[in-house]
Structure formats: structure tokens, C-alpha cells
Symmetry: C2
Subunit: 277 residues, 2 copies
Amino acid sequence: MDTANIFRSAFFVSDRTGITAEMLGHSLLTQFDNLVLKETTLPFIDSLDKAQEAVANINATAAADGVRPIIISTLANTEIAAAVGKANALFLDCFQIFIVPLENELGSRASHEIGRTHNLNDIVNYYKRMESVNYTLSHDDGVTTRDLSEADVILVGVSRCGKTPTCLYLSMQFGVRAANYPFIPEDFSSHQLPKSLTKLRDKLYGLTIAPARLHRIRSERRPNSSYSSLKNCEQEVRDAEALMRRENIPVLDATAKSVEELATTIMQQAKLERRIY
Amino acid sequence: MDTANIFRSAFFVSDRTGITAEMLGHSLLTQFDNLVLKETTLPFIDSLDKAQEAVANINATAAADGVRPIIISTLANTEIAAAVGKANALFLDCFQIFIVPLENELGSRASHEIGRTHNLNDIVNYYKRMESVNYTLSHDDGVTTRDLSEADVILVGVSRCGKTPTCLYLSMQFGVRAANYPFIPEDFSSHQLPKSLTKLRDKLYGLTIAPARLHRIRSERRPNSSYSSLKNCEQEVRDAEALMRRENIPVLDATAKSVEELATTIMQQAKLERRIY
């Protein structure tokens, strides 16, 4: 029974952004090899009216598909969850299933309120996040080496190996001040680190990438250039890896990793402390 | 029993990045008003050895706290989940609890494999994401108005009201090409939209912010300047809101919203189509 493809619609339903529900649902559903998914996120389902609209939408999909959809949800309010649960679908709610064991464990009642009011902690986190994103943006791509000593981590590697999105993720998700500095062919011919980096060696973290992948990425930007040629990509990656090895810089291969995986791995291996939770 | 503060350690355990587990755990646990949390994420618990290390860590915390911690986890592998479940803790695993109903529903077995190999879809998503992040970065803060017509959305508003982090989130999470353009006092005195925006009115989306909050944010960057003064912030916000109203630009108040909420709301209200899932 495992060979034929199965088609299903999946709905990620939440009273807030739905991002948690869709991340969880996505990783659960990718466990099924033969599943062909149509995914829809329904955020801000925070009233019974909106719950009923969502149910109508889901039921219409069930009728059109000829098979009931799957709902993965995070709904804090018990009545709204019950209303959504009446849809013609497999209903899996992460909130309702865990809140009772948590109440029992803590000997305390959950508020069941939607989108808890933003407290002082959220505001402090907002500032820290904003500040780290600003730092990261102003230290992207070696734009400036000013205040580089204030970075928590400085990603190095050849152009287009994934430094910028990884830095942005580090600052957005973890509040880390992440700078990046691209190696250019001049750095390889001098056989040493750029001057501005030598005193900051402890903060350096290297990214590398398979030359064929780099070739493909660079070709999207500048097709048929020497910059994007496979030969040049091979040479640059080889030189960058040699330089990083010589300088004892830890290196992570970005080829088959998502930005989330790169950022989380760097947090762990470089023992960086997150500033926001 | 609801008045005194309760202290607990929480562990977010995952065989991959742990980001889903920590987002879910965080939103479940903020439902308890009197809970004082110490949160720790343990990512990449993808072997029995690492599971045992995690258990030792959690048990040591239980002993030190004098009360058992809470584990919120996403663990695809049944044996690893069972090993972590032996810790002296309340063990809530999102994967194991939902995978059986999903298997029954789909009439198919989950692979229970950790970190499913990156498939073609992931690679395509990676390119789309990279491309939209690059677009967003090169159209940040009105840096260039070239190719502005290729934007999916253009955020407008006064300087420091939250446009940049919101654009970055839109591009990272949804693959949307999000540009932003700051209103400056000259735009208000001319009583009209900057020329480069008039033809793109349908793509414009406004952010506004409480003047007191703006004053605080700007003061962190340039304390005691006329730019950051409360009086100037009040004036700029008033002028920007009047301009956006006059031009029929939809406006969202960023004051009490997280970047995730802003981005999700804009996706929904501007009916933007996400390019990645």
C-alpha cells in the first residue's frame, strides 16, 4: 500500500500567525514519502465566526478532493478549537492535546487566551532583535569593518556561499550580531587573512559549498561570466578551504543544508549565546 | 493555587534544529501566567548517544531544580524518542503523538527517518528564498528604485517604524520580494507620493507606529537629536498617516506587533502569494 501516490489537502490553522503549525505540520507530513500535498495556512482564526469560515473552506475542499483534509492547528481557545474540530477533516491540535497534561503538571490553569498581551519581555526582545538585525545589515558582505569587534560571529567564505541569509537568520531568530566577510581572489594570492580579520580570528566561522552548486547559484546572477564559471568556482572554493584550514577556522558545508540548519549548527558549534527566546 | 510563581526548566529537544519545538513550547508555556521559565534548546539529538547525553543533562537539571523539567520535543525516530522519554521530566512529543493518527488516516507508514534527505523541492525553495532575500536586501530603505516594479509588495512609512525586519521576514519565510521605501520630511511637504512610487500604488503597504515608541527606537540610535525628539516623531507619524490616508494606502500599526505578526498580516491583507512552503 506504500507505493501509489496519495493526494491530500492540509490546513495549518492558528489563532496567531500559523507559523508554528505550518512548520510542525510540514515536518510531520514530509515523513510520508508518497504523499502529494496541497498546503494552506489559515492564520488569525481568533473568533467563532472566523472558525466557521475556516470550516466552510475546509469542508468545500473535502468535497472537491473527495477525501477529507488534514488539519494541524495551534488554537489556544477551547471553543474555537472545538468549532474547527467539527470540520470534515482529521483534526490534530497541538495546543489542546498538551495543555491538560501541562495544567496537571504545573498545578495551574492555562489562560486559554489568544495572543497573550505583549509583555515587557516581548518588547525587550523586539529591541534586541532589531538591534542585531541592524548590526547584521550594516556588516553584510564586508561593507564595513568598523565595529567588527562587536560581532558575536563573523562568517567568512567565497561570494554566494550562503553567508548573508545565514547571518540574517542568526540575527532574526537568535538575536546574534552576525557579520560576514567575503573572501576574494586577492585574499588567496596573499596567502593570508585580510588584515581586518587577523585580530578577530576567534570570531571567524567558515562556510563552504560544493563548486557545482556555487556555479549554479552564481550563474543565476551572472550567466556565462568568468565569475560564475565552474572552473573559477572550483578554484575559489579550493583556495578558500585551504586558507581556512591553514588559519584553523571551523568550516561548515552549506551545500545540502537549509539556512535554519546552518544557523542552528553555528550557534551550537561556536557556542554562541542567544540573546532572545 | 494560581497566585504564587512557579519555577520550571523547559527543554526543547529535536533531531533537527529545534526551532519548531521551541516555538510550540514557548507559546504553550506562555499560557501560564505565573510560570517563571528557564528555557534550553537541545538541537540535533539524532542518535541514541546524544539522547543519553540529553537525558543526563535534563536529569541533572531536575536534581538541581528540585522539580522535574518539561520536555517539548519533535523526534521522528521512535527509539530516540523513547530514550529521551526516560528522563525525569514531563515528556510531550509532538511527533510521536500525531504520527500514528496520520499513519492510520493515510493508510501509509511514516518513514520515521530523521531529517529527510533534501529533495528537489527543498533545492528549488532554497533558490527562491535566496533570490527573494537578495531582492529585498537590494531594495532596502529606498536604496534603489530600479526594478521596483518587480516587487510583490513595497512597504512605506517613516524611518525606523519596522519596515526592514518585516521585509526580511517576508522574504525569508514566504519567499516574497519585499521592497521598502522610507517617507522623509520632503515627501510630506510636497503633499504627494515620491514620483517613483506613483505608478506602483497597488503594491504599497503602509506601516505606522506610536510616536512614543518611535521616539524610543530612534533615541537608541541618535539620542538627543531632532530626528529622535518626541515632537519630531509625532509630526512625522501624523504627516505619514495623512499622506497614506490621502493616497488610499492600507496601513498597519506596528507598535504592538511582532515581526511575524506584521509579515503574516500583510501576506493576508495584501493577498500576496507565498513562493515557498
